[in-house]
Subunit: 226 residues, 2 copies
DNA sequence: CGGGATCCCTTAGGATACTG
DNA sequence: CAGTATCCTAAGGGATCCCG
């Protein structure tokens, strides 16, 4: 048995062999938001050692999850279709992890990749209204921004801004409570959990579309102010 | 940033911090099939070093995913409700990994845990007929056995045998092709992919209920190293 | 300047033996 | 049975250097 293998004919074991290496899941998370250069990945994964990123990209290429592509004088890394098949699993994992998140820990940041992944996980847990009219939301948290387009009950989330959002939601402290449903949209505005720009009446639709309840199987944080 | 943390306020990163340690995912997989003693876990995870198992169990206990319970003169490890919330994510991961599985690699075994996890992942990808009449299947692969009960479109899978199965399916070489749908039930019997005991006509219902297609995004093994 | 490779050091993991 | 204890190797972290 190699050092990465588990010696079991089991889908979960196979997944763990590929995804269980440190940083791999986050690299794939970022690549599922679109093709990225080496330096984009470095910027989106603060603290990753350069040699580890290079090693992981080579491993993922060998596993058929990433392709490299020369573009101009830099290299574009792109997730393959096989990597895209991971989306449901990443959403499920992200929902599970986010269900236990209360406040950010000391020093934790929100990257573009984490914001996009979080919104995608939240979208798979809410229910978008099956309207014909489409909505464009922009969400900003920390330095990161993402846009979500809701159309016919289907949500797509991309990194970055959008030229004509219907509503821009700037996340403040307590934004997580809105996704959890422990505060309602009006309270969220009042408490500063969100700051809005655009059609503020859409916030309740937003909060129905994006939802990650707190797990009630997790204890309260020690420094709880609620 | 500690050595296990990623420094990101992100559900996926939090999940990776807990689940990304070697062996952890498989330990949880086994504990989601029911409470297990230390020696049960050792037996279900061939090759795991004893010190690693002990370390992981302590970590999982600290993370609120496992409880220890003295029962007689041995210790029972049990997954907590928070661990059970992982089930959808494990199913999704298992499906993703299993979609790329062709034949077992040299030396790979099927354990009870892997069989149960595989059937659960397969059940989340098939559609059980919404009948009132319930079905009891027993599936055997290698040394392992599991039973699946289908009732009103809901599938529950447990480890071990069942006293009165409607159909017992013994997996042979090519059983994976039946789950993938590349051979039909009649062919599966003929080719020896399955050996049946009981109501053989139920096999087509079985193969509709448990399904894991092959990923068409996977080519031939492209990675000879490792 | 982007995309790494190399070096050194620390820590986690693996194999095996041993004990309460 | 349920773990420790030990020893050793491999992988990760951090900084720097290199090359086109």
């Amino acid at each position: 048995m190699g050092k990465r293998e588990y010696g079991q004919f089991c889908g979960l074991a196979r997944a763990a062999e590929v995804l269980g290496q440190r940083w791999t899941l986050l690299i794939l998370r970022d690549l599922l938001t679109g093709p990225r250069r080496y330096s984009d990945l470095t910027a989106g994964l603060p603290g990753i050692p350069s040699n580890i990123l290079a090693t992981r990209l080579k491993e993922l290429e060998g596993d058929g999850l990433v392709t490299r592509e020369l573009r101009g004088r830099s290299v574009l890394y792109r997730g393959t279709p096989r990597a895209e098949e991971l989306a449901p699993a990443l959403d499920a994992l992200g929902r599970w992890g986010a269900a236990a998140m209360r406040e950010p820990r000391e020093g934790e940041v929100v990257t573009e990749g984490s914001l996009v992944a979080g919104l995608r996980a939240a979208a798979s847990g809410g229910k978008a209204p099956p309207e014909t009219r489409s909505r464009v939301y922009v969400v900003r948290a920390g330095e990161a921004a993402a846009c979500a387009i809701v159309r016919d009950g289907v949500v797509t989330v991309e990194a970055g801004e959008h030229p004509e959002p219907d509503l821009t939601v700037v996340a403040g402290p307590g934004f997580r409570d809105l996704l959890a449903g422990v505060i309602d949209p009006a309270m969220a505005v009042e408490s500063g959990a969100v700051t809005l720009d655009g059609d503020a009446a859409l916030l309740s639709e937003f909060s129905a579309t994006f939802r990650i309840p707190y797990s009630d199987a997790v204890g309260e944080p020690m420094n709880s102010s609620r």
